[in-house]
Protein backbone atom coordinates (compact mmCIF):
# COMPACT_ATOMS: atom_id res chain seq x y z
CA UNK A 1 0.00 0.00 0.00
CA UNK A 2 2.85 2.29 0.95
CA UNK A 3 4.62 1.39 -2.28
CA UNK A 4 1.52 2.25 -4.26
CA UNK A 5 1.29 5.56 -2.40
CA UNK A 6 4.91 6.32 -3.20
CA UNK A 7 4.39 5.36 -6.81
CA UNK A 8 1.37 7.65 -7.05
CA UNK A 9 3.37 10.48 -5.49
CA UNK A 10 6.18 9.90 -7.96
CA UNK A 11 3.93 10.04 -10.98
CA UNK A 12 1.35 12.49 -9.67
CA UNK A 13 2.23 15.04 -12.37
CA UNK A 14 1.44 12.50 -15.06
CA UNK A 15 -1.74 11.40 -13.32
CA UNK A 16 -2.95 14.98 -13.14
CA UNK A 17 -2.01 15.50 -16.79
CA UNK A 18 -3.87 12.31 -17.74
CA UNK A 19 -6.98 13.44 -15.85
CA UNK A 20 -6.99 16.83 -17.57
CA UNK A 21 -6.29 15.36 -20.98
CA UNK A 22 -9.09 12.82 -20.55
CA UNK A 23 -11.52 15.53 -19.42
CA UNK A 24 -10.51 17.69 -22.38
CA UNK A 25 -10.94 14.80 -24.80
CA UNK A 26 -14.34 13.94 -23.37
CA UNK A 27 -15.38 17.56 -23.79
CA UNK A 28 -13.97 17.64 -27.32
CA UNK A 29 -15.71 14.47 -28.38
CA UNK A 30 -18.99 15.66 -26.95
CA UNK A 31 -18.97 18.40 -29.55
CA UNK A 32 -20.90 17.70 -32.71
CA UNK A 33 -19.12 19.83 -35.26
CA UNK A 34 -17.42 19.04 -38.57
CA UNK A 35 -13.99 18.58 -37.02
CA UNK A 36 -15.20 16.02 -34.52
CA UNK A 37 -17.17 14.15 -37.16
CA UNK A 38 -14.02 14.04 -39.26
CA UNK A 39 -11.95 12.86 -36.29
CA UNK A 40 -14.54 10.23 -35.45
CA UNK A 41 -14.47 9.01 -39.04
CA UNK A 42 -10.68 8.97 -38.95
CA UNK A 43 -10.70 7.08 -35.62
CA UNK A 44 -13.20 4.55 -36.95
CA UNK A 45 -11.11 4.07 -40.08
CA UNK A 46 -7.95 3.69 -38.03
CA UNK A 47 -9.52 1.15 -35.67
CA UNK A 48 -11.05 -0.67 -38.65
CA UNK A 49 -7.62 -0.92 -40.30
CA UNK A 50 -6.15 -2.27 -37.08
CA UNK A 51 -8.98 -4.77 -36.70
CA UNK A 52 -8.65 -5.97 -40.29
CA UNK A 53 -4.91 -6.41 -39.71
CA UNK A 54 -5.56 -8.39 -36.54
CA UNK A 55 -8.32 -10.45 -38.14
CA UNK A 56 -5.89 -11.51 -40.89
CA UNK A 57 -4.06 -13.57 -38.27
CA UNK A 58 -5.93 -16.90 -38.11
CA UNK A 59 -7.28 -17.91 -34.74
CA UNK A 60 -6.70 -21.66 -34.62
CA UNK A 61 -9.10 -22.10 -31.70
CA UNK A 62 -11.95 -20.53 -33.61
CA UNK A 63 -11.21 -22.18 -36.94
CA UNK A 64 -12.57 -25.57 -35.87
CA UNK A 65 -15.89 -24.22 -34.66
CA UNK A 66 -16.08 -21.89 -37.65
CA UNK A 67 -15.46 -24.81 -40.01
CA UNK A 68 -18.16 -26.84 -38.27
CA UNK A 69 -20.58 -23.96 -38.54
CA UNK A 70 -19.73 -23.46 -42.22
CA UNK A 71 -20.16 -27.16 -42.98
CA UNK A 72 -23.58 -27.16 -41.32
CA UNK A 73 -24.51 -24.01 -43.15
CA UNK A 74 -23.30 -25.54 -46.40
CA UNK A 75 -25.50 -28.60 -45.97
CA UNK A 76 -28.42 -26.41 -45.04
CA UNK A 77 -27.93 -24.23 -48.11
CA UNK A 78 -27.41 -27.24 -50.38
CA UNK A 79 -30.76 -28.64 -49.18
CA UNK A 80 -32.38 -25.33 -49.79
CA UNK A 81 -30.92 -25.11 -53.31
CA UNK A 82 -32.13 -28.65 -54.07
CA UNK A 83 -35.63 -27.85 -52.87
CA UNK A 84 -35.66 -24.61 -54.88
CA UNK A 85 -34.54 -26.48 -58.00
CA UNK A 86 -37.28 -29.02 -57.41
CA UNK A 87 -39.83 -26.23 -57.03
CA UNK A 88 -38.57 -24.56 -60.20
CA UNK A 89 -38.85 -27.77 -62.23
CA UNK A 90 -42.29 -28.42 -60.81
CA UNK A 91 -43.27 -24.90 -61.72
CA UNK A 92 -42.10 -25.41 -65.33
CA UNK A 93 -43.95 -28.74 -65.60
CA UNK A 94 -47.16 -27.37 -64.14
CA UNK A 95 -47.01 -24.26 -66.32
CA UNK A 96 -46.74 -26.41 -69.43
CA UNK A 97 -49.59 -28.61 -68.24
CA UNK A 98 -51.69 -25.56 -67.55
CA UNK A 99 -51.11 -24.39 -71.10
CA UNK A 100 -52.24 -27.77 -72.38
CA UNK A 101 -55.30 -27.71 -70.15
CA UNK A 102 -56.33 -24.33 -71.44
CA UNK A 103 -55.76 -25.38 -75.06
CA UNK A 104 -57.78 -28.59 -74.81
CA UNK A 105 -61.34 -27.97 -75.96
CA UNK A 106 -62.57 -31.38 -74.81
CA UNK A 107 -61.76 -30.67 -71.23
CA UNK A 108 -59.25 -32.50 -69.10
CA UNK A 109 -58.85 -33.86 -65.60
CA UNK A 110 -55.47 -33.35 -63.99
CA UNK A 111 -53.91 -36.07 -61.86
CA UNK A 112 -50.61 -37.20 -60.45
CA UNK A 113 -49.01 -40.58 -60.97
CA UNK A 114 -48.88 -42.58 -57.76
CA UNK A 115 -47.44 -45.78 -59.23
CA UNK A 116 -45.66 -46.66 -62.43
CA UNK A 117 -44.21 -49.79 -64.07
CA UNK A 118 -41.87 -49.51 -67.02
CA UNK A 119 -39.99 -52.80 -67.16
CA UNK A 120 -42.72 -55.23 -68.08
CA UNK A 121 -44.37 -56.03 -71.38
CA UNK A 122 -47.69 -54.68 -70.16
CA UNK A 123 -46.75 -51.48 -68.39
CA UNK A 124 -49.26 -49.26 -66.61
CA UNK A 125 -49.49 -46.21 -64.43
CA UNK A 126 -51.78 -45.60 -61.47
CA UNK A 127 -53.14 -42.09 -61.03
CA UNK A 128 -54.83 -40.40 -58.09
CA UNK A 129 -58.11 -39.60 -59.83
CA UNK A 130 -61.06 -41.92 -60.38
CA UNK A 131 -64.81 -42.14 -60.77
CA UNK A 132 -65.29 -39.28 -58.34
CA UNK A 133 -63.37 -37.14 -60.83
CA UNK A 134 -65.52 -38.30 -63.77
CA UNK A 135 -62.87 -40.56 -65.20
CA UNK A 136 -64.09 -43.43 -67.32
CA UNK A 137 -62.48 -46.39 -69.02
CA UNK A 138 -60.93 -45.73 -72.46
CA UNK A 139 -60.32 -42.04 -71.82
CA UNK A 140 -56.98 -40.94 -73.33
CA UNK A 141 -54.15 -39.90 -71.01
CA UNK A 142 -51.87 -37.13 -72.24
CA UNK A 143 -49.24 -34.61 -71.23
CA UNK A 144 -48.12 -31.47 -72.95
CA UNK A 145 -45.54 -33.58 -74.82
CA UNK A 146 -47.94 -36.11 -76.24
CA UNK A 147 -49.97 -39.25 -75.67
CA UNK A 148 -49.32 -41.33 -72.57
CA UNK A 149 -51.92 -44.06 -72.91
CA UNK A 150 -55.54 -44.82 -72.04
CA UNK A 151 -57.54 -45.58 -68.92
CA UNK A 152 -58.25 -49.28 -68.45
CA UNK A 153 -59.45 -49.50 -64.87
CA UNK A 154 -61.23 -47.06 -62.57
CA UNK A 155 -62.02 -47.06 -58.85
CA UNK A 156 -63.57 -44.24 -56.85
CA UNK A 157 -60.33 -42.31 -56.36
CA UNK A 158 -57.76 -44.05 -58.53
CA UNK A 159 -57.41 -45.17 -62.10
CA UNK A 160 -55.03 -47.42 -64.00
CA UNK A 161 -53.88 -46.52 -67.49
CA UNK A 162 -52.09 -48.56 -70.11
CA UNK A 163 -49.14 -46.62 -71.38
CA UNK A 164 -47.48 -46.72 -74.80
CA UNK A 165 -45.06 -49.34 -73.45
CA UNK A 166 -47.85 -51.90 -73.21
CA UNK A 167 -48.21 -54.70 -75.78
CA UNK A 168 -52.00 -54.59 -75.50
CA UNK A 169 -52.25 -50.97 -76.59
CA UNK A 170 -52.45 -50.52 -80.33
CA UNK A 171 -53.06 -47.05 -81.68
CA UNK A 172 -54.07 -45.97 -85.13
CA UNK A 173 -51.34 -43.49 -86.13
CA UNK A 174 -49.90 -41.60 -89.06
CA UNK A 175 -46.76 -39.84 -90.17
CA UNK A 176 -47.53 -36.15 -89.86
CA UNK A 177 -45.44 -35.04 -92.87
CA UNK A 178 -46.37 -37.73 -95.46
CA UNK A 179 -49.76 -38.75 -93.96
CA UNK A 180 -48.74 -42.44 -94.16
CA UNK A 181 -50.94 -44.58 -91.89
CA UNK A 182 -49.81 -47.33 -89.56
CA UNK A 183 -50.37 -49.04 -86.24
CA UNK A 184 -48.38 -47.72 -83.33
CA UNK A 185 -47.52 -50.38 -80.78
CA UNK A 186 -44.96 -51.74 -78.35
CA UNK A 187 -42.89 -54.74 -79.42
CA UNK A 188 -42.45 -55.94 -75.84
CA UNK A 189 -38.67 -55.78 -75.92
CA UNK A 190 -38.13 -52.09 -75.38
CA UNK A 191 -39.06 -50.53 -78.74
CA UNK A 192 -42.06 -48.52 -79.84
CA UNK A 193 -42.76 -49.29 -83.45
CA UNK A 194 -45.00 -48.20 -86.29
CA UNK A 195 -46.23 -51.30 -88.07
CA UNK A 196 -48.27 -52.04 -91.15
CA UNK A 197 -46.40 -49.40 -93.15
CA UNK A 198 -45.79 -50.44 -96.75
CA UNK A 199 -42.18 -50.81 -97.83
CA UNK A 200 -42.53 -48.03 -100.43
CA UNK A 201 -44.05 -45.50 -97.99
CA UNK A 202 -42.36 -42.13 -97.50
CA UNK A 203 -41.06 -42.26 -93.93
CA UNK A 204 -37.78 -40.76 -92.81
CA UNK A 205 -35.96 -40.54 -89.48
CA UNK A 206 -37.13 -37.45 -87.57
CA UNK A 207 -40.71 -37.59 -88.90
CA UNK A 208 -43.35 -36.91 -86.29
CA UNK A 209 -45.87 -39.70 -85.60
CA UNK A 210 -49.29 -38.54 -84.43
CA UNK A 211 -52.60 -40.19 -83.56
CA UNK A 212 -54.85 -40.73 -86.54
CA UNK A 213 -58.34 -39.31 -86.96
CA UNK A 214 -59.41 -42.88 -87.79
CA UNK A 215 -58.96 -43.83 -84.15
CA UNK A 216 -62.21 -44.12 -82.25
CA UNK A 217 -60.44 -43.79 -78.88
CA UNK A 218 -57.96 -40.97 -79.33
CA UNK A 219 -58.45 -37.53 -80.79
CA UNK A 220 -56.39 -37.01 -83.92
CA UNK A 221 -53.13 -35.09 -83.98
CA UNK A 222 -51.73 -36.01 -80.57
CA UNK A 223 -47.94 -36.54 -80.86
CA UNK A 224 -46.76 -40.09 -80.26
CA UNK A 225 -43.09 -39.77 -81.07
CA UNK A 226 -40.52 -39.24 -83.80
CA UNK A 227 -39.10 -41.79 -86.21
CA UNK A 228 -35.77 -43.01 -84.91
CA UNK A 229 -34.79 -45.34 -87.72
CA UNK A 230 -36.39 -47.10 -90.64
CA UNK A 231 -35.61 -50.43 -92.25
CA UNK A 232 -37.26 -53.34 -93.99
CA UNK A 233 -39.16 -55.83 -91.92
CA UNK A 234 -39.87 -58.16 -94.81
CA UNK A 235 -40.71 -57.87 -98.50
CA UNK A 236 -43.93 -56.01 -97.84
CA UNK A 237 -43.54 -53.80 -94.80
CA UNK A 238 -41.14 -51.35 -93.24
CA UNK A 239 -39.67 -51.68 -89.79
CA UNK A 240 -39.98 -48.24 -88.15
CA UNK A 241 -38.67 -47.58 -84.67
CA UNK A 242 -40.12 -44.59 -82.83
CA UNK A 243 -38.77 -42.50 -79.99
CA UNK A 244 -41.70 -41.57 -77.73
CA UNK A 245 -42.68 -37.93 -77.38
CA UNK A 246 -43.27 -38.43 -73.67
CA UNK A 247 -40.36 -39.21 -71.37
CA UNK A 248 -41.95 -41.90 -69.20
CA UNK A 249 -39.00 -42.03 -66.83
CA UNK A 250 -39.66 -38.55 -65.46
CA UNK A 251 -43.43 -38.48 -65.89
CA UNK A 252 -45.21 -37.21 -62.74
CA UNK A 253 -48.32 -35.29 -63.72
CA UNK A 254 -50.80 -36.19 -66.47
CA UNK A 255 -54.16 -35.15 -67.88
CA UNK A 256 -57.07 -37.41 -68.66
CA UNK A 257 -58.93 -36.12 -71.71
CA UNK A 258 -62.70 -36.21 -71.31
CA UNK A 259 -63.35 -37.96 -74.60
CA UNK A 260 -65.27 -41.18 -75.10
CA UNK A 261 -65.42 -43.47 -78.15
CA UNK A 262 -68.16 -42.70 -80.58
CA UNK A 263 -70.58 -45.52 -79.74
CA UNK A 264 -72.50 -45.37 -83.02
CA UNK A 265 -69.32 -45.59 -85.04
CA UNK A 266 -67.86 -48.45 -83.01
CA UNK A 267 -71.15 -50.37 -83.04
CA UNK A 268 -71.36 -50.04 -86.81
CA UNK A 269 -67.79 -51.17 -87.26
CA UNK A 270 -68.35 -54.15 -84.94
CA UNK A 271 -71.51 -55.12 -86.82
CA UNK A 272 -69.72 -54.97 -90.16
CA UNK A 273 -66.76 -57.01 -88.87
CA UNK A 274 -69.12 -59.72 -87.51
CA UNK A 275 -70.84 -60.16 -90.86
Amino acid sequence: MKTIGLLILRIKEYLILTVFVVISLVLIFNNDNTQIRFLRAFAIGFVGTLQSGVSAVPNVFELQSENKYLREKNIELANEVASLKEAKLENIRLSKLLTLKEANVLGVISASIVNKSLVQTRNTITINAGENDSIKVNMPVVTDDGLVGKIVGVSKNYSIAQILYNKDLRISAKVQRSRVDGIFTYDGVGNLVLTNVPKAADVNPGDLIITSEYSNLFPGGIPLGTVLETGNLDNLFKKITVKPAVNFNILEEIFVVKSQPNKEKSDLEKLFMNK
Partner: protein
Protein backbone atom coordinates in the same frame (compact mmCIF):
# COMPACT_ATOMS: atom_id res chain seq x y z
CA UNK B 1 -0.25 28.13 -2.24
CA UNK B 2 -3.96 28.86 -2.61
CA UNK B 3 -3.18 32.54 -2.67
CA UNK B 4 -0.68 32.07 -5.49
CA UNK B 5 -3.24 30.00 -7.39
CA UNK B 6 -5.81 32.74 -6.93
CA UNK B 7 -3.27 35.26 -8.18
CA UNK B 8 -2.62 33.19 -11.26
CA UNK B 9 -6.33 32.76 -11.86
CA UNK B 10 -6.91 36.47 -11.47
CA UNK B 11 -4.17 37.24 -13.99
CA UNK B 12 -5.58 34.56 -16.33
CA UNK B 13 -9.06 36.09 -16.12
CA UNK B 14 -7.57 39.44 -16.95
CA UNK B 15 -5.58 38.05 -19.87
CA UNK B 16 -8.58 36.11 -21.18
CA UNK B 17 -10.58 39.31 -21.09
CA UNK B 18 -7.82 41.15 -22.97
CA UNK B 19 -7.44 38.25 -25.43
CA UNK B 20 -11.12 38.32 -26.20
CA UNK B 21 -11.65 42.07 -26.34
CA UNK B 22 -8.47 44.03 -27.05
CA UNK B 23 -6.20 41.64 -28.92
CA UNK B 24 -7.36 43.04 -32.25
CA UNK B 25 -5.30 46.11 -31.45
CA UNK B 26 -2.08 44.18 -31.98
CA UNK B 27 -3.38 41.46 -34.29
CA UNK B 28 -2.18 41.25 -37.88
CA UNK B 29 -5.73 41.20 -39.16
CA UNK B 30 -4.68 40.96 -42.79
CA UNK B 31 -3.07 37.62 -42.07
CA UNK B 32 -5.50 36.57 -39.33
CA UNK B 33 -2.67 36.25 -36.83
CA UNK B 34 -2.86 37.28 -33.19
CA UNK B 35 -0.55 36.61 -30.25
CA UNK B 36 -1.85 34.28 -27.56
CA UNK B 37 -1.40 36.05 -24.26
CA UNK B 38 -3.09 33.35 -22.22
CA UNK B 39 -0.70 30.62 -23.37
CA UNK B 40 2.19 32.88 -22.37
CA UNK B 41 0.82 33.00 -18.85
CA UNK B 42 0.32 29.24 -18.79
CA UNK B 43 3.89 28.66 -19.95
CA UNK B 44 5.10 31.11 -17.33
CA UNK B 45 3.27 29.22 -14.59
CA UNK B 46 4.70 25.94 -15.85
CA UNK B 47 8.22 27.29 -15.85
CA UNK B 48 7.81 29.03 -12.50
CA UNK B 49 5.88 26.29 -10.61
CA UNK B 50 6.26 22.98 -12.43
CA UNK B 51 4.13 20.33 -14.18
CA UNK B 52 1.16 20.24 -11.83
CA UNK B 53 0.57 23.96 -11.61
CA UNK B 54 1.24 24.37 -15.33
CA UNK B 55 -1.32 21.65 -16.11
CA UNK B 56 -3.96 22.97 -13.72
CA UNK B 57 -3.67 26.59 -14.82
CA UNK B 58 -3.45 25.48 -18.43
CA UNK B 59 -6.64 23.41 -18.14
CA UNK B 60 -8.61 26.10 -16.29
CA UNK B 61 -7.56 28.92 -18.61
CA UNK B 62 -8.20 26.78 -21.69
CA UNK B 63 -11.63 25.87 -20.37
CA UNK B 64 -12.35 29.53 -19.79
CA UNK B 65 -11.35 30.40 -23.36
CA UNK B 66 -13.45 27.52 -24.71
CA UNK B 67 -16.51 28.58 -22.76
CA UNK B 68 -16.16 32.16 -23.94
CA UNK B 69 -15.65 31.19 -27.56
CA UNK B 70 -18.40 28.58 -27.36
CA UNK B 71 -17.35 26.81 -30.54
CA UNK B 72 -15.16 23.88 -29.60
CA UNK B 73 -15.36 23.02 -25.93
CA UNK B 74 -12.27 21.21 -24.61
CA UNK B 75 -9.85 22.00 -27.43
CA UNK B 76 -8.09 24.98 -25.80
CA UNK B 77 -8.20 23.12 -22.48
CA UNK B 78 -6.28 20.25 -24.05
CA UNK B 79 -3.70 22.37 -25.85
CA UNK B 80 -3.07 24.69 -22.86
CA UNK B 81 -2.83 21.75 -20.44
CA UNK B 82 -0.13 20.12 -22.58
CA UNK B 83 1.70 23.43 -23.09
CA UNK B 84 1.68 24.08 -19.34
CA UNK B 85 2.80 20.53 -18.57
CA UNK B 86 5.70 20.67 -21.05
CA UNK B 87 6.74 24.03 -19.69
CA UNK B 88 7.02 22.24 -16.35
CA UNK B 89 10.02 20.30 -17.65
CA UNK B 90 11.97 23.59 -17.63
CA UNK B 91 10.88 24.54 -14.13
CA UNK B 92 13.04 27.45 -12.95
CA UNK B 93 13.35 25.98 -9.42
CA UNK B 94 15.37 23.02 -10.62
CA UNK B 95 17.28 24.26 -13.65
CA UNK B 96 17.90 27.91 -13.05
CA UNK B 97 21.36 27.77 -14.62
CA UNK B 98 19.86 26.79 -18.00
CA UNK B 99 17.33 29.53 -18.08
CA UNK B 100 19.31 32.10 -19.93
CA UNK B 101 17.37 34.78 -21.74
CA UNK B 102 17.46 33.21 -25.21
CA UNK B 103 16.89 29.73 -23.89
CA UNK B 104 13.76 30.96 -22.15
CA UNK B 105 12.53 32.40 -25.43
CA UNK B 106 13.20 28.99 -26.98
CA UNK B 107 11.13 27.30 -24.26
CA UNK B 108 8.24 29.69 -24.89
CA UNK B 109 8.47 28.99 -28.61
CA UNK B 110 8.55 25.22 -28.06
CA UNK B 111 5.61 25.14 -25.64
CA UNK B 112 3.56 27.56 -27.73
CA UNK B 113 4.37 25.53 -30.83
CA UNK B 114 3.10 22.34 -29.21
CA UNK B 115 -0.01 24.02 -27.83
CA UNK B 116 -0.83 25.75 -31.12
CA UNK B 117 -0.11 22.62 -33.15
CA UNK B 118 -2.62 20.62 -31.14
CA UNK B 119 -5.16 23.42 -31.31
CA UNK B 120 -4.96 24.28 -35.00
CA UNK B 121 -4.40 20.79 -36.34
CA UNK B 122 -7.57 19.60 -34.62
CA UNK B 123 -9.49 22.81 -35.27
CA UNK B 124 -8.95 22.64 -39.04
CA UNK B 125 -9.69 18.92 -39.39
CA UNK B 126 -12.11 18.26 -42.22
CA UNK B 127 -11.29 21.56 -43.93
CA UNK B 128 -9.73 21.60 -47.40
CA UNK B 129 -6.51 23.16 -46.04
CA UNK B 130 -3.58 20.75 -46.06
CA UNK B 131 -1.71 19.90 -42.85
CA UNK B 132 1.38 21.64 -44.17
CA UNK B 133 -0.56 24.83 -44.83
CA UNK B 134 -2.27 24.67 -41.44
CA UNK B 135 1.14 24.37 -39.84
CA UNK B 136 2.65 27.16 -41.91
CA UNK B 137 -0.21 29.67 -41.95
CA UNK B 138 -1.66 29.21 -38.49
CA UNK B 139 0.64 27.25 -36.18
CA UNK B 140 4.01 28.73 -37.08
CA UNK B 141 2.85 32.30 -37.56
CA UNK B 142 0.80 32.43 -34.36
CA UNK B 143 3.60 30.76 -32.42
CA UNK B 144 6.17 33.19 -33.76
CA UNK B 145 4.06 36.23 -32.99
CA UNK B 146 3.26 34.88 -29.52
CA UNK B 147 6.97 34.24 -28.89
CA UNK B 148 7.85 37.77 -29.97
CA UNK B 149 5.29 39.19 -27.54
CA UNK B 150 6.52 36.71 -24.90
CA UNK B 151 10.11 37.84 -25.45
CA UNK B 152 9.10 41.35 -24.47
CA UNK B 153 7.67 40.00 -21.22
CA UNK B 154 10.82 37.92 -20.61
CA UNK B 155 13.01 40.95 -21.07
CA UNK B 156 10.75 42.89 -18.72
CA UNK B 157 10.86 40.12 -16.05
CA UNK B 158 14.66 39.71 -16.31
CA UNK B 159 15.18 43.40 -16.05
CA UNK B 160 12.81 43.73 -13.12
CA UNK B 161 14.58 40.80 -11.35
CA UNK B 162 17.95 42.38 -11.96
CA UNK B 163 16.61 45.61 -10.51
CA UNK B 164 15.19 43.73 -7.54
CA UNK B 165 18.48 41.85 -6.87
CA UNK B 166 20.56 45.00 -7.21
Amino acid sequence: MIVSYLKYIAVIILLVAVQKTLIWLIALSNYNIAPDLVILMVIYVGIARGHIEGSIIGFLSGLMIDMLSGSFLGLSALSYTLAGFIAGYFCIREREEFLKKYFLIGIVFLCALIGNSIYFLIFYQGSPISVFNIFLIYVLSTTTYTTIVGSLFILFIKDSKKTAYS
